[in-house]
């Protein structure tokens, strides 16, 4: 049974129609010992077809270790949201290049976090945080790699 209602799908389709750049969701999962991997996959799989600029890549956390390390994933369910930009390589061929803003989700993106997920997709697509000039001026002072974790619950 689908989680998204038809009305929700239409609203999301309209929202996603504003996406300037393509977005890839890199999802890490495994079949065993992961209680919430299935529901997380279902949510992502229902979102993906709502825009031709969205793509879902499903990786096995136990097998695709190199990718897990590349994205810094140490627990599941988890996904990275990255921007895809067309780039012309040295041979003059067009290729898609990932722009990783470091955004990761751990656990089921439901409740309020479903809206955080949609917001993150839109922010990654535009490549714009939508922060005020004052906030940007402060954040511009950060010169070291900084790890920010936001803990939430589904309610």
């Amino acid at each position: 049974m689908p989680l998204l209602k038809e009305r929700d799908r239409q609203t999301l389709q309209q929202e996603f129609s504003q996406m300037p750049h393509r977005v890839r969701i890199v999802f890490f999962t495994q079949a065993l010992d992961c209680e919430t991997c299935g529901i997380t996959e279902q949510i992502l799989a229902e979102i993906e077809p709502l825009s031709d600029k969205l793509e879902l890549v499903k990786l096995n956390y136990a097998i695709d270790r190199q990718a897990a390390e590349h994205y810094g994933i140490a627990r599941i369910p988890a996904f990275a949201i990255v921007q895809l930009r067309e780039n012309t390589n040295a041979e003059g061929e067009s290729e898609l290049v990932e722009h990783d803003y470091g955004i990761r989700f751990y656990g089921v993106p439901s409740g309020h976090e479903f809206m955080s997920l949609i917001g993150a997709i839109m922010d990654v697509s535009t490549g714009d945080s939508q922060l005020s000039p004052a906030s940007r001026a402060l954040a511009a002072q950060v010169t070291e790699p900084t790890h920010i974790q936001v803990f939430t619950t589904p309610t």
């Binding site: 751990y106 001026a137 002072q141 900084t146 974790q149 803990f151 939430t152 619950t153």
Partner: protein
């Protein structure tokens, strides 16, 4: 973004008793949510940043050399 009820080890490690909880570099904590105008300065002050970049530039341009 971490749905903490699924990761009890993290809840224990970072002593998550209420949400949202923001943890910077595994040690600096900001509890609760706030509008951007308060939240961003609060986060930045945890990193020792209180002066916007533009003001720093202005300070430089109006410094002893000008």
């Amino acid at each position: 973004m971490i749905e903490v009820s699924e990761f009890p080890d993290l809840a224990q490690r970072f002593q998550v008793y209420g949400v949202p909880l923001t943890v910077i570099n595994d040690s600096l904590r900001f509890e609760g949510g706030a509008p951007e105008v308060h939240f961003v300065p609060a986060l930045m002050s945890k990193l020792g940043i209180t002066t916007p970049a533009s003001e720093t530039h202005r300070d430089e341009s109006t410094g002893p050399n000008t």
